[in-house]
Symmetry: C2
Subunit: 175 residues, 2 copies
DNA sequence: TTCGTCATGTAATGGGTTACATGATTAC
DNA sequence: GTAATCATGTAACCCATTACATGACGAA
């Protein structure tokens, strides 16, 4: 997931780790509290060793102790990224991943887009049903606060389903 | 977090692990995909060794290979749970924890309730502001899909703030 | 008798955070 | 010259998941 996000952002423009993290935080926009450097930098190293990204502009590491390391996507990286975007697995519509997947939709093949949106819709509709049935079963004997929480969750799920329907419809119109 | 949730559910009624997991799934209601047994059972064991929970009804483990183990809160467990509910830390209003914390609000001291609700409100309002400013800055040059995602996120944050305001107001009325 | 569900558990693994340490650059 | 911020990195740890293995019990 972090890997996908990094490749996707570097696909737009070369960047150093610190800046990358800011963009990442922007991308995830509150869905999760931006990745820590402790996971970001090791991942960059791993991607570099794997040949998917490369340092731009010679070797700044030789100049001074610690300088910016600007990374860019390599040809292999671009290819790998395209491969990831063409994939569709159930994981892609789970909460963790869906946001990141959507962020790179403009470079995702249209069929993959539709399948992910459909999967997400199913997933959220199921959650909605689960909450609704819990809410129905627990008419009076359940904690007031728990019920409020369920109400919020149900509302959120309903809104997301409508939002997804709009996106799906837009996809169909576009064809 | 898992610990808090387990203690809270066992506080209502003694229960075995399998059943506990179902209740847990209900409690978290889609906020996260219920804990796996691989983390549930070891945690039960840990709580048992710590003396916070105890097996009900003698030793069913002697009767057959694997039978249900029904756990209940011990006196120490009840005390520990009360202590946890009286605590208020920033962590308590983060996404991960807030739902579980709220689920046990009826046994949470009123001042702690208000402080957690206020913290959560601040947290969500900050997210809202962050998204709004991102959305403003990125008028036209940002990806259409990313903008849609931000729109959904902003909407969700706004609704949660209103929802929190209702809860907070209800708390004040109740005093 | 076999299949699905209930029920408990262990070991390997993973993906991330926290805390810590270092150094460069900019603003006051 | 010193404080804040920018910037990179490592090591220890935590919490949970996955995969696996065992076994009871009821229904077809």
């Amino acid at each position: 997931m972090l890997e996908l996000a990094i490749l996707g952002i570097l696909h737009r423009a070369p960047m150093h780790g610190y800046e990358l993290r800011k963009q990442l935080g922007c991308l995830l926009c509150g869905h999760r509290p931006a990745f820590s450097f402790g996971s970001l930098y090791p991942t960059l190293r791993r991607l570099q060793r794997a040949g998917l990204i490369a340092e731009d502009g010679g070797e700044p590491s030789a100049s001074a102790g610690r300088a910016r390391r600007v990374y860019g996507l390599s040809a292999a990286g671009r290819e790998h990224f395209a491969g990831l975007l063409a994939e569709v697995t159930p994981q892609h519509w789970e909460d963790d991943c869906f946001g990141v997947r959507l962020a790179f939709f403009s470079r995702t093949p249209p069929e993959a887009r539709l399948r992910i949106l459909a999967g997400r819709r199913r997933c959220v509709a199921e959650r909605q049903e689960r909450i609704r049935s819990t809410l129905d079963r627990s008419c009076e004997h359940v904690d007031h606060y728990t019920r409020q929480l369920q109400r919020l969750g149900l509302d959120g799920a309903e809104r997301e389903v409508r939002w997804l329907d709009e996106l799906i419809e837009a996809e169909h119109r576009q064809r």
